[in-house]
Each structure stands twice: as structure tokens, then as C-alpha cells.
């Protein structure tokens, strides 16, 4: 196992700069998730770590060793691809032993390692099958097995669960996490699914347009998004955002929104007249019947343990999470409030965070 240090890494395709100044330190044994919308550069970064994509500038070190100039095979990393990329002409056993055979390990040792890995992943009955005779989930496990069997310094996962159906995806998510807890292998995992990122990561790296927006533990990122982009990307349903201008009054600062609403802001040193984006999560919208904001229920989404209610507040749509016992129907008038302490305040022009909320 090894730590990974990414220093000031940049990437350029011809004259187009797609990534610049990426800095990331992955501790030994850590499970890091790179998350972002498609095209944000997360897969490119992963491929640069694997050596499949050359680095334009900066340095990548794996286990303290600079790997910029090394071929993928010299980096001692294993990668699980979104398409699994199993060798279609080799059976499961040959797929899993491929790397070991290339390294000229003793046949007895290869057998032992393959058997052990197959047992771990419940692949024993499938060892003699060709990939085309496997289901999607089984292929995914073989791809995992092919990576694990080598005991590499570093695991790289490129959206490995994207091609599975929803139910299997959730199951595999847990399984990969459990596997990591047992193997303690340093892992870098790329996904566009923020739920995967939240549930699997020790620390997550939110990327946007070739830059890192924020690095942090999932709940820290959720509770303290560093930028408006992160706030909007993490969390489902998405965070509510109102933009407007700060007004000062005797009770403290408040926001006069573009829709003419008024929202009390958390105590901070924002100056009157500044344009802001105020963001608050659905669970912080309180439907108490006495709040200052008048609203009308437009859509009700019961999920079981909780219910999401989409409200029309002065012409804007706001999502609120309510208890399932609260019975609301479309068209119902309600009053609501947002706790000032739960509001994240961002600079409306560049999305930078301005407030610190508890």
C-alpha cells in the first residue's frame, strides 16, 4: 500500500488547458472519491495517475516514487474500468491471472492467489466461464477480482458501478466499501454520483471544470460546502439557492431576493449592497405554519421514511423535507421559515463561500 501525492498537476490537449494546478494528497490506505459532473476532469486525473494519459505539468508520486515518466505497468496500480474491460477471449481464471502470469509468478502461487480472490468475491463457480457468459454484476466482480488478485499499491476505480442496475449498484457499493475495510488498500474512486461519493469516501474531492472545488470528509463537505458549485452538486434533492442583495436593518443583515422576498441572514460581516447567493438545504426549511414566508405546495414526493415537498414561494421553487406524518396536498397554503444559522452564503459573482455556519 502507498500514499499518493499529486503536485501542481496540469493537463493540456493541444492548446486547450483542461486541468491546472491540481494538488491532492492521498494517505496510505485511504479511500478517496473524485466526484463531479461529466467533463470535469475526474476521469482524466485518474487516467493520469494510472499512466494512461500523459501529464503536461506537475508531478505525481505513488509510494514516494515519482511516476511521471513510468509506463502504466511500472506503477504497480490496478484499475477497474466502467466497461469492466475484461479480456473477452480469456475465461475468468485467465482474466484474473493475466497480470500474475505476465509477472512470471510461479504457477502454484498464481493458483493460490486466484483461488483466494475468487473465494472472497464468490467467483469460484464462474472461473471457467468466458466474460460473455456472465451477467453485468458478475463481470463487475471479475473486474474487481482482476484488480485485487495482484495486491497492487493503489486501486483506481473509474465509475465501476455506472453500468449496473440501481439495486445491484447499492449492493456493490456496500461490498466495495467492506472490501476496502478488509484490505485497507489505498483507493481512488471516480464517480459522477454524489450519493456514491458521500457513502463510500473517507474523503471526497469535488471537481469542476478541471479544478478541485473542495476536498474533505463527506459530512464536512455537505455541511460546509466551500463554493456554491459544491453546495449545489452535493445533496439530493439539491440545495435551494436564492440570489439577491444584502440589506442592513436593526435585527441584522437580511437578503432582498430577486423575487422580492426577504430572508434573514446568519450573523456575519457581509456589507449591505453586496450581491449574494443564499443556499439552504431542504431539511432546514421549516413548515411550522407561522414562518414569515408564504408558500403554496406544488408537488409532494413521499419517499417512505420522509417526504419532500416542493413549494412555490413567491414565484421560486423551494424543496423542503418534512416528516411523513405531515399530510400536505398540492395547492395547500403553508407558511415556512429557514433557520438563519443553516444558511450558506456565497459571493454571487464567483461562488466563493462568505459565511461560516455552525
Amino acid at each position: 500500500m502507498a500514499a499518493v501525492n499529486i503536485r501542481n498537476v496540469g493537463k493540456q490537449f493541444d492548446s486547450v488547458v483542461v486541468m491546472r494546478n491540481i494538488d491532492l494528497d492521498v494517505a496510505d490506505g485511504e479511500f478517496i472519491v473524485l466526484v463531479g459532473a461529466s467533463g470535469c476532469g475526474k476521469s482524466t486525473l485518474l487516467r493520469m495517475i494510472a499512466g494512461l494519459e500523459p501529464i503536461t505539468s506537475g508531478e505525481i508520486a505513488i509510494g514516494g516514487r515519482r511516476v511521471n515518466e513510468l509506463e502504466p505497468r511500472e506503477r504497480d496500480v490496478a484499475m477497474v474500468f466502467q466497461t469492466y474491460a475484461l479480456y473477452p477471449h480469456l475465461d475468468v481464471r485467465e482474466n484474473m491471472s493475466f497480470s500474475l502470469r505476465l509477472r512470471k509468478r510461479a504457477p502454484a502461487e498464481i493458483d493460490r492467489l486466484v483461488e483466494a480472490t475468487a473465494t472472497t468475491l464468490d467467483l469460484q463457480p464462474l472461473l471457467a466461464r468466458l466474460p460473455r457468459a456472465l451477467s453485468g454484476g458478475q463481470r463487475q466482480r471479475v473486474a474487481m477480482g482482476r484488480a485485487i488478485v495482484r495486491h497492487p499499491q493503489l486501486f483506481l476505480f473509474d465509475e465501476p458501478l455506472s453500468n449496473l442496475d440501481a439495486k445491484l449498484r447499492v449492493a456493490m457499493r456496500t461490498e466495495i466499501r467492506a472490501l476496502h475495510q478488509r484490505l485497507h488498500a489505498t483507493s481512488i474512486y471516480v464517480t459522477h454520483d454524489q450519493v456514491e461519493a458521500m457513502t463510500m469516501a473517507d474523503r471526497m474531492v469535488v471537481m469542476n471544470a478541471g479544478r478541485i472545488e473542495q476536498i474533505g470528509r463527506p459530512l464536512d463537505v455537505y455541511d460546509h460546502p466551500a463554493t456554491l458549485y459544491v453546495a449545489q452538486f452535493i445533496g439530493s434533492p439539491a440545495i435551494n439557492v436564492w440570489t439577491g442583495v444584502v440589506e442592513a436593518s436593526s435585527e441584522g443583515a437580511s437578503l432582498r431576493t430577486d423575487h422580492g422576498l426577504r430572508l434573514a441572514l446568519p450573523a456575519s460581516d457581509v456589507t449591505a449592497g453586496t450581491r449574494l447567493a443564499a443556499a439552504f438545504r431542504p431539511e432546514h426549511v421549516v413548515l411550522d405554519g407561522v414562518g414569515p414566508l408564504e408558500a403554496r405546495v406544488s408537488v409532494v414526493e413521499p419517499l417512505g421514511p420522509e417526504t419532500y415537498v416542493y413549494l412555490d414561494v413567491g414565484g421560486t421553487r423551494v424543496c423542503a423535507r418534512v416528516d411523513r406524518t405531515q399530510t400536505l396536498a398540492p395547492g395547500d397554503p403553508v407558511r415556512c421559515d429557514v433557520a438563519a444559522s443553516a444558511i450558506h452564503v456565497f459571493d454571487a459573482s464567483n461562488g466563493a463561500r462568505l459565511s461560516t455556519t455552525s
Binding site: 509506463e71 505497468r73 474491460a85 479480456y87
Partner: protein
């Protein structure tokens, strides 16, 4: 050329027959019967002629008494060097096929996978297409001069090189289609798993395009086997290939129809065997990418 037309139409008619039979009425059936007759008629005529004495062919005798004497004369006759011609053809067709597969496969792989500037790949592929459309006859003159200057006139090497040149465009296009179907991740997985680039190509990429190699190989072999004008122009009697030898049965004062027919039938054997073995690969190769 005749045999290649016959051989190539086999898989095509085999795949279209059921659809037409279901959809069309008697007009369709009639048209189909005419097409089949047009293809098989001459072949049947040659086949029967190969079992007739020359005199029976002239007199149009029917029914006739079959004889194997034409085959015996062509294959074992003292005055016939047809076996030598078959050997020549086998050498030229095999060597040119092997060579065109190596060159064509590497070229197709490079054009498909490496990040060539567009003008390089498009230019190369466009040129191969243009080259494919130029009548071979226009090239024979320059080739004749070039090979005589190089001292390669009347050698198998000259014929092999020209057949490689002629077959290269088709091989590159066909193999490129097969490489395009391969997800690059499979090779990348091999690289990460510990392969050098060349090893990944040999251990992973190449085994996966074997159907393409078979399809291109068969088409190239059959073309080379049937090729007439270049073989006629670049070789003399000793190195004549099968089509040239067949043509020589038509001499100045006499056309040996019966022996010519027997030689023709013998010459179709490799093509028929190859097509029977490789038909499904060829149909797949020519329609690759058309249907998922």
C-alpha cells in the same frame, strides 16, 4: 475474375434469399431464379464441358458420355505444367496474403488507435480508396518498367509485391473496422495489468480481431489467386499462375475447350474451400458496424 464473382455472390444470395422469398411473389421468385441462373449457368456449362471430349463440345452432343481424360491430361499430362502453375499460384497467393495481413493490420491499427493529425489518417485512407478505384491496367505499364529495372521482372517477388499493393486498401479498411469495434479500455487494462504496448497488442488486441484476419485473409487470397492482368504481364511461361495458364489453353490455331474447362474447375477449388470455411467471418467483416 470469374470465380471471384461466383464465390463472392454465394454468401450474399444466401443471406437475401429468405427475406425475398417471404416478401416477394412470383416476380421476386422469377428474378431470383434468373439471377441464380446467370451466376450458376456458366459455371454449370464449364463443369459439364470439363467432362466432355473436345468433339462433344463442338457437336453439342447431349446426353454425352462423361470422361475424366481432360482432368488427367491437365494434371498429369506430359505436355501440361498446370500443377506447376497451381504451385506458383499457391506460393504467390499465400505469400502476398501473409504480407498484406501484416502490413494492413499494423497500418489499420495505427490509423485507428494512434492520435494522428486528421490530415494524415484521412489522407491515407482517402488515398487507399482512390488507389482502389484506379483500374489495375493503368499501373501495369509502370510496374513492368520498374520491376525490369530492379531485375525483378519474371520473379514471384514482383507478383507478390503487386498483389500486396492491390489488396492493401481493402485489408486496411476491413481491419480498421474490426479495430474500431474494440473498446480501447481492453488494451488499457492490459497496459495497467503489466503489458508493454506491443505485448498488449499481441496478447489482447490481435486475438480479438482474428475473425477480421480470417475475413481479410480469405478475400486477399482469392483475389490474388484469380488475378489475371498483372500476372500475365509480369511473368513468363515458367512462373505463370493459374489464370494465366487457363488463358493459354486458347492458342493461336486451336482452343482446348475441354482442358480449359477442367483447369478452370480445378482452379475454383481453393476459393470454394476457403469460402465454405470462412463465409461467416466474411459476411461479418463486410457488414461490420452496419448492425449492432
Amino acid at each position: 475474375m470469374n470465380t471471384s464473382a461466383t464465390a463472392l455472390s454465394l454468401p450474399r444470395s444466401a443471406t437475401t434469399t429468405p427475406a425475398t422469398a417471404v416478401g416477394g411473389g412470383w416476380i421476386g421468385t422469377t428474378l431470383l431464379a434468373l439471377a441464380v441462373a446467370a451466376v450458376l449457368g456458366p459455371f454449370a456449362w464449364i463443369l459439364t464441358a470439363s467432362f466432355k471430349y473436345q468433339i462433344a463440345i463442338y457437336s453439342g452432343e447431349w446426353p454425352f458420355t462423361p470422361t475424366l481424360s481432360n482432368y488427367a491430361e491437365v494434371l498429369f499430362g506430359r505436355r501440361s505444367d498446370f500443377v506447376g502453375n497451381v504451385v506458383n499460384s499457391l506460393i504467390v497467393a499465400s505469400a502476398s496474403t501473409a504480407l498484406v495481413l501484416v502490413v494492413g493490420t499494423l497500418a489499420a491499427y495505427s490509423l485507428q488507435r494512434f492520435r494522428w493529425p486528421v490530415w494524415v489518417s484521412a489522407g491515407f485512407l482517402g488515398w487507399t480508396l482512390v488507389f482502389h478505384m484506379i483500374p489495375v491496367m493503368t499501373l501495369i505499364g509502370p510496374w513492368y518498367v520498374a520491376f525490369r529495372e530492379l531485375g525483378l521482372y519474371d520473379t514471384r517477388i514482383a507478383l507478390i509485391l503487386t498483389h500486396v499493393t492491390i489488396n492493401l486498401p481493402m485489408t486496411v479498411w476491413l481491419m480498421r473496422a474490426f479495430f474500431r469495434e474494440l473498446p480501447p479500455e481492453i488494451e488499457e487494462a492490459a497496459l495497467v495489468d503489466g503489458c508493454r504496448p506491443l505485448e498488449a497488442f499481441r496478447r489482447v488486441t490481435l486475438p480479438l480481431v482474428i475473425p477480421g484476419l480470417i475475413a481479410s485473409g480469405i478475400l486477399a487470397f482469392i483475389f490474388s489467386w484469380n488475378e489475371f492482368p498483372v500476372a500475365l504481364s509480369l511473368t513468363s511461361r515458367d512462373l505463370a499462375t493459374v489464370p494465366v495458364a487457363i488463358a493459354r489453353f486458347a492458342q493461336q490455331y486451336e482452343i482446348q475447350h475441354s482442358q480449359m474447362a477442367a483447369a478452370s474447375i480445378v482452379s475454383t477449388i481453393p476459393a470454394v474451400i476457403l469460402m465454405a470455411l470462412g463465409q461467416r467471418f466474411i459476411v461479418r467483416g463486410l457488414t461490420l458496424g452496419a448492425v449492432k
